[in-house]
């Protein structure tokens, strides 16, 4: 083996070592959470890198608590309703912004961008008043309403960039046939927008599933909470005796569906994220 081949080999080894480091760094915390969640409480406080046996006590513990099951239900309810509403409002708004030229369009786009950059705390007291005024405090409907502040601008923004890319001819044909804008959206654009809607819907779902500040502030009782709040508020006898086993079991339970979604829709998520940022 000569000098050139040796350096080439060294480079390859170095490259794959670096890849391995990145992989371990990305996966290890989640892997460790899974391991912890499958340990009996007696073994919890001895550090180990793998499992000798499986123990599902922690999972049984959290699922036998009605409040955690209820929190999962609330999270699903909030996220799914929010995605539906955001897509419905988003698709019509993105048609208006992406396909029609009218005065004030740039202002609307800037407003949307501005709202998407809002710090949530800045509206907390005002939004609290609105939600209480509408009688939605401690109610998942209040969360659905408040979450539109970050999902709606994002959905509209990404769908608009996708909408702009569709060819003009499609719409011209529809106009020639005398189709109204509503018919144009539902019959011409909707079938073509499904992939984009799946992407934005997925991203909106993840954002809603993970939200914490509003969920913490606008709910009060255990049976109205969403999973992030439920997990954050799991507590033991004292500050120093957190039940780590059940916490990790709950964490793994709510994360596994997301990880599977990300694995399946990896390409879509990447295209949605970059459409929202790079092309915007």
């Amino acid at each position: 083996m000569n000098q050139y081949q040796l350096t080439k080999l060294a480079k390859r080894v170095g490259f794959y070592a670096l890849i391995a480091v990145v992989m371990i760094y990305a996966i290890f915390p989640f892997y460790y959470a899974v391991i912890t969640s499958l340990k009996p409480s007696s073994e919890l406080f001895t550090v180990s890198y793998w499992l000798d046996s499986l123990d599902f006590t922690n999972y049984i513990t959290i699922f036998s608590q009605g409040s955690f099951v209820r929190a999962i239900f609330n999270s699903i309810l909030v996220s799914v309703s929010l995605v539906t509403i955001a897509l419905l409002l988003g698709i019509t708004a993105s048609y208006a912004l992406g396909r029609v030229r009218f005065r004030g369009r740039a202002t609307v786009m800037l407003t949307i961008l501005g709202v998407s950059m809002f710090p949530q705390v800045a509206v907390l007291s005002g939004l609290f008043e609105v939600i209480r005024g509408l009688g939605l405090y401690n109610n998942p409907a209040g969360l659905i309403l408040s979450y539109t502040i970050f999902t709606l601008p994002f959905t509209v923004w990404v769908l608009t960039t996708f909408m702009k890319q569709l060819p003009m001819e499609l719409e011209e044909a529809a106009i020639m046939d005398g189709a109204t804008p509503w018919v144009t959206i539902t019959k011409v654009f909707l079938p073509l927008m499904w992939p984009a809607m799946a992407t934005t819907g997925l991203l909106a779902f993840i954002a809603a599933w993970n939200e914490f500040l509003f969920a913490l502030t606008f709910t009060l009782t255990d049976d109205q909470r969403t999973v992030p709040v439920a997990i954050a508020l799991i507590s033991g006898g004292s500050q120093h005796e957190l039940p780590w086993g059940p916490i990790m079991a709950a964490s793994v339970t709510v994360t596994v569906p997301l990880v599977i979604l990300v694995m399946i829709f990896q390409k879509r998520i990447v295209s949605g994220l970059t459409a929202g940022a790079v092309k915007g």
Partner: protein
């Protein structure tokens, strides 16, 4: 505008051309556009515009959480008030200025680290190798994990007595005794930064990767033919070309970092060594029930973030201007 005959057949036939302004179809489309935008604009006004105005208003009142309607106007007393020989109010509160400093420190350090590591990961993923898709999917995992969950996972790993991080560091001989990562005031900010960086590298990496994949191949071929060192190629060719994408990634991340709340709330709760503007404002608003004072903090937070964005965009435009 409407001088053109609106109902004649030829007008309809010409709409494909750019000059269809003022036709019936066009007016119908513009009307429909506003109709379609209306629900979204109403929703945004209800959850963003109006609450923001109310927050501004509350910051000049003595509103409390249990009674926001009966709030009385008290001028700028929440911000600054002179009483009996001393100044009081938000602007004189050292805890507030400490949280402003913490927020800025956290944002600058974590975003810088994310950009550096994000670019490195993006460069790795941009190379052709077997299993690239698998690695890309694995890298996305931290991004998909809810912030609360990642904070809890790291809190467990950083646990002072039973945490695996202390175990590893002691095994490697780097430390003699376990460190109290989240409780020790000098370490907790770094613990928070560590978790935030872990969670958001994927986002930066993906944006940079998208930019890398759009770069023209011929520059690199030319550089290779000329035998220029890859590091030099990176700083002279790649970096300038991906700067616009990096700028976008940085502004998104910066806006997120400046309003950081959940990771800190879970990891270190209300400890002053990591208290940020969002934590401070929410504590005043919800835990102390002082809506007036808390709204003043929220308003200041909003202004500080707006100022940061303006400064960033101004510097960024000059930076980009130089590159062109």
């Amino acid at each position: 505008m409407t001088t053109q005959s609106t109902d004649s057949a030829p007008a309809k036939g010409r709409l494909a051309k750019a000059g269809y302004r003022g036709t019936k179809v066009r007016r119908q489309r513009v009307r429909a556009a506003w109709l379609f935008l209306a629900p979204m604009l109403v929703a945004l006004a209800l959850v963003a515009g109006w609450p923001l105005l109310r927050t501004f208003y509350f910051s000049f009142t003595d509103a409390s959480l249990s009674d926001t309607a009966g709030a009385a106007f008290i001028g700028i007393e929440n911000y600054l008030v002179y009483d009996d020989g001393a100044w009081y109010g938000l602007l004189t509160d050292p805890v507030w200025w400490n949280s402003v400093w913490n927020t800025l420190y956290f944002s600058v350090v974590s975003v810088s680290l994310e950009v550096v590591f994000g670019v490195i990961v993006a460069l790795l993923l941009n190379a052709e190798f077997k299993g690239r898709m698998l690695v890309r999917a694995a890298v996305l995992i931290p991004w998909a994990i809810p912030t609360i969950v990642s904070a809890k996972m790291w809190a467990w790993m950083l646990n002072d007595q039973f945490g695996i991080i202390n175990h590893m560091l002691m095994g490697l001989g780097l430390i003699d005794a376990p460190l109290a990562w989240t409780a020790d005031a000098s370490l907790s900010m770094w613990a928070v930064i560590m978790v935030d960086v872990w969670k958001t590298i994927p986002f930066v990496a993906l944006l940079v990767l998208a930019a890398l994949q759009m770069l023209p191949k011929d520059c690199y071929e030319a550089a290779e033919v000329d035998g220029i060192h890859p590091v030099r190629v990176f700083f002279r060719v790649t970096l300038p070309l991906i700067t616009p994408a990096l700028m976008v990634a940085v502004i998104f991340r910066l806006l997120d970092a400046l309003r950081v709340f959940d990771v800190i709330y879970v990891l270190t709760s209300n400890s002053t060594s990591t208290m940020t503007m969002s934590i401070y404002a929410r504590q005043q608003l919800v835990e102390f029930q002082d809506v007036g004072y808390g709204s003043a903090a929220s308003t200041m937070l909003f202004l500080i973030i707006a100022l940061a964005v303006v400064i960033y965009l101004y510097l960024g435009r000059r930076q980009l201007g130089v590159d062109q």
